[in-house]
Amino acid sequence: MNTIDNTQRRTWLKQAMAACGLALTPAAVWAALDKSSLTDKSFFTLICDLVIPDTSVPGAAKAKVPDFITLAAAHGMKGAKAEQISGFEVLLNEHTGNVFVSLNEQEQKTALTALDAAAFSHPRGVPMPEVLAAWKALKALIVVGYFTSEIGASQALRYVLVPGRFNPDVPLSDNPKAFSTDWTGVKYA
């Protein structure tokens, strides 16, 4: 479930466009929108929710990953570039031919899944379209932001800073969650 109400936003957009006498086309919507609002937290909150939604534990939005994305991108974490991340919404809209935020949840999932599949099946050695590169960078920031947050590291995973012992063979069925403190497993995954 998305944290922000996409339906509400989509409806608002439609009404706004109608009021302006415009058809709801991506180009028209894009032209009519305040660009600065597109790189704000709500878009990233939406994307975070789609990538790592609430499961048995709170997901990326509740773990405040959108805040982290802004900081991380500004400092080039995981090779991300600030403008690449802030411009992703535009690239996404251009790529899908839709206004992403105006789609319903299922449509958003379908669109993002297709983009994700294209990015991760992109052949090596072939220059990657900007939208796919930006998506991979953003997804990496969501993943690192979530699993290093307190929720991600200690609820989605097990955080045991001082194990005190090493048991070399444990049945996984005892607890299927991985350790966020398995630094080797994280470093060399």
Partner: protein
């Protein structure tokens, strides 16, 4: 400039060897001045980020990449720099060096109390006579002036104090030591050990021999390892060997130690009449004042290349080409292990098994080539270090998927990976050398080092063989090879830089004698990695420590006899 009191010995550098020199010399009753160019990082209270969770760090433990790119363009490639330990690595911007022409060298450093002993990999392996006789046997380099029997008692000595956990295997190429109980192989490593033994009877996979205590040394303030595997943040338990946890408290306990931090040895003063080092000029890096300290002995333990640099810039009328350099080989024959990922693989069949705790060591497969049966096409050998583990959440970077399935998958452990890094012996070659840059200086105003380095055809051949053999072992065990490389990482990447003031039998072709004593200047000893005449293919720190303790014992006895 002022002139200060007389000590029995001055030790330059407080890392692994400097700590050992200070401990050994003070315990023999000598008054010792220990010089450290960097700041003091006190044991326990200095480890500011040790207990912090990722979410308590500004950049989640990964660090501010923009800052890292600006200040740590070299150090970040060590593979060990994190936000937790970032301040322990040198600022490359302030401490630059040159790699002329096609040279590639990653010079990884830590300028603070304890030096790299604070962030080291802790792997401790004895060398054997396969190593000490290698130069004599194949003609590369010059013969070591010692053999295994000369150093074996000193390996015993340092191992007992350091506290090294490991398994005895009875291998002549990797002699057993005075070990604490070994850490355990995990279920897949145990399987790989058995598979390798079955398919390759001359090969052995064993647990890493690591300077992490499995039995506490409580009387020394050291608790057993807590299996956190965050050693490089500093360990308040004192469970791994570092200057802070081990040698420094031992030296301080004698009452014979004076420690000066922020104090960089800028030059050694040679007295021509007595042919002795008469003083050490020391720059206080904070006040910018230079003081000359005097001593009967000087031990250089500044790290291989910095010890060489200090000698190169300590020119005098008697030694216009660098102190103790009548041979002309000072700065030459530098080495670093040629390293790369030999194999990364997936081992199927164990996905219902996991482990608890973070063992702070991997496994090792000692050298098995060119021991008693010569190989075709190359000389010397290679070994592997690595281990098995389950892939963590960061596999999500390269994994397709979004939504609940993706999130749930990453909450569990991934495939069992088995990875081996190849370490190939690096031949000592004259063309690999250090010089002083004639123009460029560092932040302290001293000439930068020029590091001229490349790997030879032999190292490339060794890594090629290592890649092939690693894949064979994985395949024989039913594993799936994902990747393997035979291309060495740039020199320095193994962080085993050594040589430049090699030990040898002949004063015409070496800088140091069999006791790490300068052939040219009797009261000068160099006991860090600079002394190495060959590189073997196993980690060198244990050998540096043993050589240091041995040299300190010799120096103290010579001093007592009035021979120095």
């Amino acid at each position: 400039m002022s002139s200060e009191m007389q000590y029995d010995a001055i030790v330059v550098g407080s890392g692994i060897t400097g700590g050992w020199a200070a401990k050994s010399l003070t315990e023999k009753g000598l008054k010792v001045l220990l010089l450290e160019r960097g700041e003091n990082i006190p044991h326990r209270t200095g480890y500011k980020n040790e207990m912090r969770a990722p979410w308590e760090m500004p950049f989640r433990g990964e660090g501010d990449q923009a800052y890292i790119d600006e200040h740590y363009p070299v150090q970040q490639h060590s593979g060990h720099l994190t936000e937790w330990n970032q301040s322990y690595w040198v600022d490359d911007k302030a401490q630059p060096y040159q790699t002329p022409g096609d040279s590639q060298f990653r010079w990884i450093r830590g300028y603070h109390l304890g030096g790299k002993s604070l962030m080291w990999g802790r792997q401790c392996y004895r060398w054997s006579d396969y190593d000490f006789s290698a130069n004599a046997n194949d003609g590369h380099g010059t013969d070591w002036p010692i053999r295994y029997k000369d150093i074996a008692p000193w390996y015993d000595h340092v191992e007992q104090f350091v506290g090294i956990s490991g398994a005895k295997e009875g291998l002549p190429q990797l002699p057993d030591g005075e070990f604490q109980p070994p850490m355990a192989l995990n279920v897949v490593e145990q399987y790989m050990r058995e598979q390798i033994a079955e398919h390759f009877p001359d090969r052995r996979l064993t647990i890493g021999r690591t300077a992490n205590l499995t039995e506490g040394k409580l009387d020394e303030g050291r608790a057993p390892c807590q299996n956190r595997s965050i050693c490089s943040r500093g360990c308040s338990f004192g469970a791994y060997f570092s200057t802070q946890s081990s040698t420094l408290p031992a030296a301080q306990k004698t009452g014979n130690l004076t420690l000066l931090t922020n104090s960089m040895a800028s030059r050694l003063i040679h007295d021509k009449a007595s042919n002795r080092i008469s003083g050490v000029e020391v720059l206080n890096t904070q006040t910018r004042q230079t003081t000359t300290y005097h001593s009967k002995l000087v031990f250089l333990c500044a790290g291989a290349f910095n010890s060489v640099g200090l000698l190169l810039r300590s020119t005098s009328e008697a030694f216009p080409n660098g102190l103790a350099n009548s041979s002309g080989v000072l700065g030459k024959y530098i080495m670093d292990h040629a390293s790369t990922v030999g194999v990364a693989s997936v081992i199927p069949g164990f996905n219902d098994r996991y482990y608890y705790g973070n063992r702070p060591t991997g496994v090792v497969i000692p050298r098995f080539v060119n021991l008693d049966i010569p190989e075709e096409g190359y000389t010397r050998g290679f070994s592997y270090q690595g281990g098995a583990y389950r892939a963590g959440w960061s596999r999500g970077y390269k994994q397709a998927g979004i939504g609940e399935d993706f999130a749930n998958d990453l909450q569990g452990p991934g495939d069992w990976k088995f990875v081996l890094t190849s370490f190939a012996e690096c031949l000592p070659r004259e063309e690999n050398h250090i010089t002083l840059d004639p123009e460029k200086t560092d932040a302290d105003g001293f000439p930068q080092l020029q590091i001229h380095f490349s790997f030879s055809d032999n190292e490339h051949k060794l890594l090629k063989a290592a890649k092939e053999e690693a894949a064979k072992m994985v395949t024989a065990a039913g594993g799936k090879v994902l990747f393997g490389s035979d291309r060495p990482n740039p020199g320095g990447s193994a962080i085993h830089e050594m040589g430049g003031a090699r030990m040898g039998r002949d004063a015409k072709t070496s800088v140091l004698n069999g006791y790490n004593q300068a052939h040219d200047v009797p009261n000068l000893f160099v006991t860090d990695g600079a002394a190495m005449a060959s590189s073997a293919c196993q980690n060198p720190s244990l050998t540096y420590m043993a050589l240091t303790a041995r040299a300190a014992d010799y120096a103290a006895s010579q001093l007592a006899k009035g021979l120095i």
